[in-house]
């Protein structure tokens, strides 16, 4: 039997792509990619039936490297492409990896709507609190007061809590992990992929090159160790006060609810439609009375 890293390198990485990959030394994106590949492997998914989509950003380069059906879409729109793919071929396992900017800045609307709509999709968000690729400008998850290339005086806006936002918007499954917790992350990813409905796994990651450096958080090692120190499990967190939770990273499964999944509902509709069709079409025929419209 091949060993873990060998399986990944030999079966899941695209060797015709130039490795080493483009990410900076110590960047958490690689750690997430490893966990994701291990999760897919242990779920026994057929590579031909897996789709990995991304938007634009450092994280957006992930699909280039992995041997699935892969697509690097436009900035912020990955979930919309994934929606089309999933609805066209519901049998595929469609995962979408995004950065915090990609998913919640320009892509914020698609994100909350995907959650609301509850298709059977998995969204993996690598939250590094900055726009890594374009040079460290503030993102929707940059903490209040932080420095970035566009907030040299200290950031005046507040950060989204991505996982909470996803849950409120309607995601069926929401979990959080960090790049320090690589095994836990794999576990969360597996749960998310297996979940029927829209699942979100937020992974706290390090961009020491853009964010860490400017905020005196140290390099990759210090940042990743920081995640270890700041993390508390959801079980513990529920017993802590808001004050105690200040600055902490709550990890684990934050939401897991059962509700109708649109992907399946559409199938039901298709069946019904064939029957009802005749009647409704008639009734639907507009009587031509139009109102002022824009």
């Amino acid at each position: 039997m091949l060993e873990c890293a060998e399986i990944i390198r030999k079966e899941y990485l695209r060797h015709d792509k130039k490795f080493p990959h483009v990410w900076c030394p110590g960047c958490g994106n690689g750690i997430v990619m490893g966990a994701l590949l291990r999760a897919v492997h242990s779920l026994g998914l057929d590579k031909d039936e897996v789709v990995l989509a991304s938007g634009i950003g450092c994280s957006g380069r992930m699909p280039t490297y992995v041997d699935f059906n892969t697509i690097h879409t436009t900035h912020g729109r990955a979930l919309t492409f994934s929606t089309g793919i999933k609805l066209a071929r519901p049998e595929l396992t469609v995962m979408t990896v995004m950065g915090d900017g990609d998913s919640t800045a320009i892509g914020g609307n698609h994100f909350i709507h995907a959650a609301r709509r509850n298709l059977n999709l998995t969204a993996i968000i690598i939250n590094n609190s900055t726009y890594g690729m374009t040079g460290g400008q503030y993102s929707p998850t940059t903490p209040y007061g932080s420095k970035s290339t566009t907030s040299v005086y200290g950031h005046v806006e507040h950060a989204f809590n991505i996982a909470e936002l996803a849950a409120t918007a309607g995601a069926a499954f929401v979990a959080r992990s960090t790049v320090y917790h690589a095994t836990h992350m794999e576990e969360m990813l597996k749960k998310g992929i297996e979940k029927r409905g829209f699942s979100v796994i937020e992974i706290i990651s390090n961009c020491h090159v853009q964010h860490g450096r400017r905020n005196k958080l140290g390099g990759a090692v210090e940042m990743i160790n920081g995640f270890k120190q700041r993390s508390v499990t959801i079980e513990k967190a529920t017993k802590m006060s808001a004050d105690e939770l200040e600055g902490k990273i709550t990890i684990g499964v934050l939401a897991d609810v059962e509700k109708p999944v649109s992907t399946e509902e559409y199938q039901r509709i298709v069946e019904e439609a064939k029957n009802k069709a005749e009647i409704i079409t008639k009734a639907k025929e507009k009587n031509g009375v139009k109102r002022y419209e824009e």
């Binding site: 789709v51 879409t73 089309g84 609805l87 066209a88 709507h113």
Partner: protein, 382 residues
């Protein structure tokens, strides 16, 4: 305007928007994502009823950007897909439309034109989006734009749009306008088995050999869908034959030129014009969309008054049918170009007018359809 084979049984009264739906379904469209907007909403509404009936999927997305993303996604997963919108929505899909061009994704976008710019005149007809459909997304890109002028057109041009889209792996835009969209006409739809349908060419090589962006004699690479067993990469970055991003000047040049030449290779197939009474015409009207109908009336009336008038109706607006138009520019003394805009196609006609033919623009931007009288006046006075 098309001569249709009359048959009691299949003759129905359809609105333009309904006919687009009928055409799309006949062409094999099985996915629609859209966002409502006047005067295109009926297309969404009717497809929301009809698509499930044929096992397809309808989804209303959160906006037009998302709709275009979903359409591209569905097409990459192997399903013929479409969206429909009007100017404001079209302005929003530009970025993803460019993605469709560079990733060579077949899909059809209907733009039912209303008055612009901006929210403009939501319920009035216009032809103000012509240049926008050609140039709206950034960067050099090929694209196909077809215009409809009647309910029968809506059906047949929509089928043509899907066929071209699949054949050339390119987004195809159908330009309709508020008049065509909401006019009801009696049409006879052909039987499904009489309709020529083109499906994208799928690869037949072993999956290891598959190069999703390799050139071939058509210039159009074979296209596998996600899930077909040909795992491959799709990106909006300029890419090499295998689909992976490249920074190599030669590869870049080769790729970008190929996506342009695949279209020029197909000009004969793609560039459609129709003519009426052009054999001996000395004066002609070049028109498209609903205005072509006013023009036809005017030409007929002019003939009655002894003017040797003719009509050239552009179905394909882009790639601009230079060759055909050139012929008529050489044939005629004067060419009249009536448009419900400030002169967007007359620019193109002027551009190719090497014969030095006199071109008379007639532009109306007040939200009203140009009448036959207005055109007739030109025909009889020039």
């Amino acid at each position: 305007m098309e001569s249709i084979n009359e048959s009691e049984r299949k003759k129905i009264l359809l609105q333009g928007n309904e006919a687009i739906v009928a055409g799309a379904l006949a062409a094999g469209c099985r996915f629609f994502a859209g966002y409502p907007i006047t005067p295109a909403s009926e297309i969404s509404e009717i497809l929301s009823v009809k698509l499930p009936e044929v096992g397809g999927t309808f989804i209303q997305m959160e906006d037009e950007i998302a709709s275009m993303g979903a359409v591209i996604g569905a097409s990459l997963a192997g399903v013929k897909a479409m969206t429909a919108t009007s100017g404001p929505g079209f302005s929003l899909i530009q970025e993803n439309l460019g993605y469709g061009c560079i990733a060579e994704v077949p899909c059809v976008i209907v733009n039912v034109m209303r008055g612009g710019p901006s929210t403009g005149l939501p319920t009035s007809p216009s032809q103000g989006d012509v240049q926008m459909t050609r140039w709206g997304t950034h960067g050099d890109h090929p694209i196909i734009v077809l215009a409809v002028s009647s309910v029968a057109d809506c059906f047949s041009v929509t089928i043509k749009a899907f066929n071209l889209s699949e054949k050339y792996r390119i987004p195809v835009i159908i330009l309709s306008d508020e008049v065509v969209a909401h006019t009801r006409e009696s049409v006879t739809l052909p039987d499904q088995d009489q309709i020529r349908i083109f499906d994208r060419v799928k690869p037949d090589v072993p999956s290891d050999w598959y190069k999703p962006y390799a050139d071939n004699n058509r210039g159009v690479p074979d296209m596998a869908a996600f899930g077909d067993g040909y795992r491959h990469h799709v990106t909006g970055l300029v890419h090499d034959e295998k689909g992976f991003p490249t920074q190599d000047s030669q590869e870049i040049d080769k790729f970008l030129r190929r996506i342009h030449t695949k279209i020029s290779k197909g000009f004969q197939d793609i560039q459609i014009t129709k003519t009426h009474l052009m054999e001996d015409a000395e004066v002609c009207v070049i028109a498209y969309g609903s205005v072509a109908r006013s023009a036809l009336r005017a030409v007929r009336d002019a003939r009655k008054l002894g003017v040797k008038a003719g009509l050239v109706q552009l179905v394909t607006l882009f790639p601009f049918p230079r060759k055909a138009v050139d012929t008529y520019l050489r044939q005629c003394r004067v060419v009249i170009v009536p448009e419900m805009n400030m002169g967007q196609m007359s620019r193109e006609i002027g551009r190719v007018n090497q014969a030095g033919c006199r071109i008379v623009k007639h532009n109306r931007i007040d939200g009203q359809l140009i009448t036959p009288e207005e055109i007739l006046k030109h025909l009889t006075t020039v």
